[in-house]
Symmetry: C2
DNA sequence: TGTCGCGGTCCATAATATGGAACTATAATG
DNA sequence: CATTATAGTTCCATATTATGGACCGCGACA
C-alpha cells in the first residue's frame, strides 16, 4: 500500500495483516452515512475497484450487515447492523442517561434539542427531541456527522478541549471543511470558539445553514474527558442575544445533571439484576 | 451455504473471495452476544487461532467497532457499533412503530411487554417495557436471542409460518436447543405451537424458565411475511387460563394495529422532510 | 446507431492472511 | 514457590484469499 500519498483514507500496511477488515469497515461506514447508495458511488467513496466493492458488499449482505433493494439495486445497512447497535452501548450510557434531559430542554424551549457524541474529529448526532413551536430547523438529523468546527455542538466540544488539542484539530479539519462548506469563514469559528471558552456555551449563528441558529454546551464523562454536547436549535428570530442567555441556563443545568448522572452510574459497577441475567445466560450457553 | 454439517458456523469457500469479512463479522457477532469477553473464549467461539483473532480484534478496535477494557483486557462492542445501529433501521420501521403499542400493553397488563424480531432461525428481543406490577420476570433482556421454539415469541412466529417451514426449522434447531436447554421437552413445543395455530396466540408456560410465563402474537409485514412478535410476560400466578384469554385481546389488537401502521407507512414512500435532508446532505458532501 | 453510465461477473495473478510454535508477562491458585 | 491459565507477541513459510483489468448486458439519451 502506498505510504506516501494519503489520498483515500486510513491506510498504512498496519503491523499485522488485517487490511480487508479495515476496508470492509470503511465500506460499511460509507454505506451507513448515506441512507441508500449505489455501487458506483461506493467505489468512488472507498477508492477500491468495482469488483472488490461488490464482493465485499456481497459478503456484508451475507452476514446481514448490508441489504440491497432488489429493484433499485441500492445498498443500505441491514438489520444486523441495527441489532449490533442494540447490543452496544455508548460510553457511560451517555445516550440513555441523556434522554430525559433532552426532552426537558425541548419542552421548556419549545424548540429542538439535540444530543451529540464526539467521534474523533467529528460529532455525531445521537438524538433529537422536538418542542412545540411550529417553525423548526430540520438541519441536523440523527446520524448526521459534522467535522469539529461546524455547528454549535462541535464548537462547544472544541471549546471544552485543551486549547492546543483544539487548535490542532481545527488545523486538521480545515481542508475537509473547505471541501464541504466552501463559503465557510474559519476566522469566525476561531472567534466563536474563543467566546465559547469564556461563556461556557457555544453559539452557532446560522453558519452551516443560514437561519438555523443553535447554542450548545459540552458534556464531560466522569474522567473529565469531553464526551459530546447538548444543543438547542431554533430559527434565527427565536435565538437573539437575550434568548441565548435565557436558554443557556437550562442548557448548562441539564449538562451538569447529565454529568452527575454518569458519575453516579459509574460508581455502582453492576446492578443487582445482572445476577439473574447471569443465571439465565448460563442456562442458554 | 453448507447444508449438511453446521459444526462451527457459516463456512464454504463462498463463490467470491471475502472470507475474512465473514470471519470478522462472525467475530463481531460473538463479541456482541456477550457483554464482555476475553480472547480465549473468542478463539474458542470462532474456531480461529489466537494470533488471527487478536489481529482481527485489533483491526476492529482500530475502526471503533470493538473496544477493549485496558484493565480487564475484556473486549466488547465499540461506540461505532452503536452509531452504526443508529444509522440502520428495522424493516418497515418495525421497532419505531411498535413503541407506543408495547408501552400500552405494559400499561394495561401491569406486566412486562416485549417486541421481538425474527432473524433466521432465532428471535431477537428488540424492546422491553415494564408495567407497574412489582413482581416481574426479568428473564428476557433487550439483545437476547433465542432459537425458534424457545419462548412465547418464538412459538408465535413458528405458528405463523407455513407448517412445512416451521417443521423444518424445529428439526434444524433441535440440536441447538438440546445443547442449551438440556431438559427441554420438544413434544410439548409441538403441542403448544399447534395450539397457537388454532388460538392465534402462543403460550409459553414457563418452559424456558420455571415460573416465567408469557403469551405472544406474531406480526406480519405488509407483504405478509412474519417479521416478529409481541409478547406479554408475567409470573405464573398472573397468567392463568382466564388471564391468558383476557390479555390475548389487547395483545392481538396491538399486533393488528402495528401491522396496519406498517402498511400505511409503506404506502407513503418518502416524507416531505427528506427533500430538505437531501439538500443538506449535498452541502456536506 | 453510437455511446455513456451503471450494475454485475470472470479469472490469472499477486498479495494477503494464516496458524504452529516458541516465548514473555501477569495474576490467580494450591 | 511451583503451577496453571490468561493475554499478548513475534516469526515465517505456506497457500489461501483478495485483487482489478477486461468484459458483458442493459437502459437512457442523442
Amino acid at each position: 500500500m502506498g505510504n506516501i500519498s494519503q489520498i483515500t483514507s486510513r491506510q498504512l500496511p498496519e503491523h499485522g495483516g488485517a487490511q480487508s477488515i479495515l476496508r470492509a469497515a470503511n465500506l460499511l461506514r460509507e454505506v451507513g452515512l448515506r441512507r441508500s447508495v449505489g455501487l458506483a458511488e461506493l467505489t468512488a467513496a472507498t477508492g477500491l475497484s468495482k469488483p472488490t466493492v461488490r464482493r465485499m458488499l456481497l459478503a456484508l449482505i451475507n452476514v446481514g450487515l448490508v441489504a440491497q433493494n432488489p429493484e433499485t439495486k441500492q445498498y443500505k445497512l441491514g438489520v444486523d447492523a441495527y441489532l449490533l447497535g442494540q447490543l452496544a452501548e455508548t460510553p457511560y450510557n451517555f445516550h440513555e442517561l441523556s434522554r430525559d434531559g433532552i426532552a426537558r430542554l425541548a419542552e421548556v424551549s419549545g424548540d429542538t434539542a439535540y444530543l451529540s457524541i464526539r467521534q474523533g474529529d467529528s460529532t455525531f448526532c445521537l438524538h433529537r427531541e422536538e418542542g412545540k413551536y411550529p417553525i423548526r430547523t430540520h438541519v441536523l438529523h440523527i446520524g448526521d456527522r459534522q467535522p469539529l468546527s461546524v455547528g454549535a455542538a462541535s464548537m462547544a466540544v472544541l471549546a471544552a478541549l485543551p486549547k492546543v488539542e483544539a487548535d490542532a484539530i481545527m488545523e486538521n479539519n480545515i481542508d475537509k471543511i473547505r471541501d464541504s462548506y466552501p463559503d465557510f469563514d474559519m476566522e469566525k469559528i476561531y472567534t466563536l470558539v474563543a467566546e465559547a471558552r469564556i461563556q461556557g456555551w457555544a453559539l452557532n449563528p446560522g453558519l452551516a445553514f443560514a437561519g438555523s441558529w443553535a447554542i450548545a454546551v459540552a458534556v464531560r464523562d466522569p474522567e473529565g474527558q469531553v464526551l459530546g454536547a447538548i444543543t438547542i436549535a431554533a430559527i434565527e428570530a427565536r435565538l437573539d442575544a437575550k434568548r441565548q442567555l435565557e436558554l443557556s441556563v437550562p442548557l448548562v443545568k441539564e449538562a451538569k445533571r447529565l454529568e452527575k448522572l454518569m458519575r453516579q452510574a459509574h460508581g455502582e459497577s453492576r446492578p443487582v439484576a445482572s445476577l439473574l441475567t447471569h443465571e439465565v445466560r448460563n442456562r442458554k450457553r
